[in-house]
Symmetry: C2
Amino acid sequence: MSHQADRHPAGEDRVIKEIPPKGREFSEWYTAVVLKAELADYSPVRGCIVVRPYGYAIWELMQQALDRRFKATGHVNAYFPLFIPQSFLEREAEHVQGFAPEVAWVTRGGGEELSEPLAVRPTSETIIGHMYARWIRSYRDLPVLINQWCNVVRWEKATRPFLRTMEFLWQEGHTAHRTAEEAEAEARQMLEIYRDFVEGDLAIPVLSGRKPESEKFPGAVRSYTIEALMPDGQALQSGTSHNLGQNFARAFDIKFLDSDNTEKYVYTTSWGISWRVLGGLIMVHGDDRGLVLPPRVAPYHVVVVPIFTAARREEVLDAARRIAGRLGEKMRVRLDDRVEVTPGWKFTDWEMRGVPVRVEIGPRDLEARQVVLVPRTGGDRRAVPWDGLEGAVQSLLDEVHGELFRRAKAYLDEHTVAAATVQDLVDAIGARRGFVRVAWCGREACEQAARKESAASPRVIVEEPASGPCLVCGTPAREVVYFARAY
Amino acid sequence: MSHQADRHPAGEDRVIKEIPPKGREFSEWYTAVVLKAELADYSPVRGCIVVRPYGYAIWELMQQALDRRFKATGHVNAYFPLFIPQSFLEREAEHVQGFAPEVAWVTRGGGEELSEPLAVRPTSETIIGHMYARWIRSYRDLPVLINQWCNVVRWEKATRPFLRTMEFLWQEGHTAHRTAEEAEAEARQMLEIYRDFVEGDLAIPVLSGRKPESEKFPGAVRSYTIEALMPDGQALQSGTSHNLGQNFARAFDIKFLDSDNTEKYVYTTSWGISWRVLGGLIMVHGDDRGLVLPPRVAPYHVVVVPIFTAARREEVLDAARRIAGRLGEKMRVRLDDRVEVTPGWKFTDWEMRGVPVRVEIGPRDLEARQVVLVPRTGGDRRAVPWDGLEGAVQSLLDEVHGELFRRAKAYLDEHTVAAATVQDLVDAIGARRGFVRVAWCGREACEQAARKESAASPRVIVEEPASGPCLVCGTPAREVVYFARAY
């Protein structure tokens, strides 16, 4: 399973440059890691990035991990057009309000002005709704469980690699159901799949729950979200799932003949996760030496670095090749056998690229029939015998994953505080304390007041019993909400 | 490996309708198969199709088969922007001439007119060339071997599902090399990979070779192609690979410092294959009962159809489930356990969808501990014992693949004729004889004359020694060319 997901560093980069410290210059640190680990590059098109092979290899592993989960729950992939007629976007009132300002319009094609401009899809509910109206006839055709992997475009003003780009890659699931209950169960199931993926594969703990009305997807009855906490105390919305009720069914006339012989509108859902989570992964796990990759989405689990003296070069190289070959049957391995750079340079290089485990092998290790394992998360170097090496490396990979999740969870817990009053909320947000847990009466006026004072937004309503008074009006609270500043 | 790549047929289709005969109404037959096998549907956007789950599952298998081959030859995937600034397209003179008439232009975004229109990529040489100029510094950075899976848009006048659509999915490889020889070897290697994929996985025999100057990719030094023959006698260009020489390197200033310490332009290639080959597959292998899928890209290798009487329904169904479960460990299996339709209906349904092998199991088969295997290619039904069933099905799948290739090759051979004169060429093309092999002096004037008379085009120059006179001017021939009408 050897991959080649990286390129030989370009000449100018052969001396690895310092990156700014993560703690003090977080934003500069992020950009430096994205560029120097060769995850992405800026493009000549404003707001669009190029995802370089090493970054794309991570995205491919993310896609596979998600696609597996989608298919295991009965979903199938399909592909719908990139272009959406203007009139379609306008069919669902809230939807067009939400998306129209962000749309890129094709107005000319084949040398002619178009009679109706075509939107480059910002999301595909409308065109998929139109097709579902053609395909769905009877209750026997339900549920329809379709997912699409594609690019979408949203005209953003300020952009940052992965986190907010004009064009981005994502998946969007679109399902149609016979009953409101089935649609609700689907929306919740997909949120749970996102949580399981982000926590289980990316080692990023999240808060999981419902969006307040003010933050719903345009056209949704109910929106669900997973929210992660970044090291600067800001929340990152990392995946959303929407129960669209019958809003799109009515707008696009998606009806079915039920077993009672009456015609009814279907209930639909949509859910999406984008390459934005790759940005989250960089921020949460990276350190002053660069990227740190959770093993399940690392293009290389392991890099093997031979440490050779001139005298025993071939011998050490042979052993390194054997070790890499053996490990390569069980995991993704890269052998770094370059001769024009030193082992020390290679260590720094692969640390920058976040490879979870380094395997060192030098002349003395030959006699001892051992290698040295070094986890990217720091901690002890450990000499491990050749016999049973695969198992030892696998354990260390699991350890690295566990350690990354443990650290991120500790950070999340330390940076989640409770606030009983608006002033407490304002103070906690001002001190960059991360998530602030408040009790809320559920009224929009109170939400708006809390937003305005704190300059933070309600990220997620969790399923916990609320007690005590609303932080704003003091009437009995009905919901527990986490506020934060957000990306 | 059970998949769910299809949907329960919609109510209106529950009675399978006749499709026109392939032999007499080829074009109508093609459209009927695309729609009725639920491979694709028309969309409300002119020239754009929706690829439905069953069609997309075939495309996913094609992607995997190609991606495996690309990675095995050292290529890595990346992602470049959908939008290309107008000025970029104009940098390479031939390139802009070739593509500008087909471009869709974004002129408005975020509520404002753009100062420079953005092309929706028709192909990505220009934007990738720009990035390569930034990334490549030294001979040590070469070769760069990148592939991209993406959508592209070309404003076509007449469109047909898969064969010619305004938006289509494809892959485009873009490589940069130190020498002209390496670039030439790469272009040829990728053509050979396409040939191996189309013949080996799609069971479609092709002619493989060079394009004449008049048919080159805009901006290429040399273009290679694989050409398949469709049942209406027309050629289908099924994959192309281009040696771009230093044309794009000069246009985008892609230079490297060589080991001799001088600065040089790189040599680049590009190569692409699209979902068009899915159209080719439908046309070549399909028959009057619908689609026939070559096993390697069939979403289901096998469909298991239980044939139950009311009395022994559970018993037969249990056995069918066991059989499907066992086979499912080795291949992609679908169990059709629907009760609302008859076995005969299911046979017709899965024949329409082209599943290569049907497994029938009824009450009498329980006693005999056997099943009946029916290949989609026709021929004998065969009773096979449960013991060793996996091996028997695997052999039958190989047989189906071989039979499909054999038939297509026989057709290709029968429909490839030689012509010594322009009149022979005209007669052969007029009689829809398929490929017409001619000897040619290599001069454009003769090519143009042959084109004009025959209304056919030179599809491919093969690597065979030419003998005899040019079909037009009678001077000694230098090349062997196959003419045909083409999609």
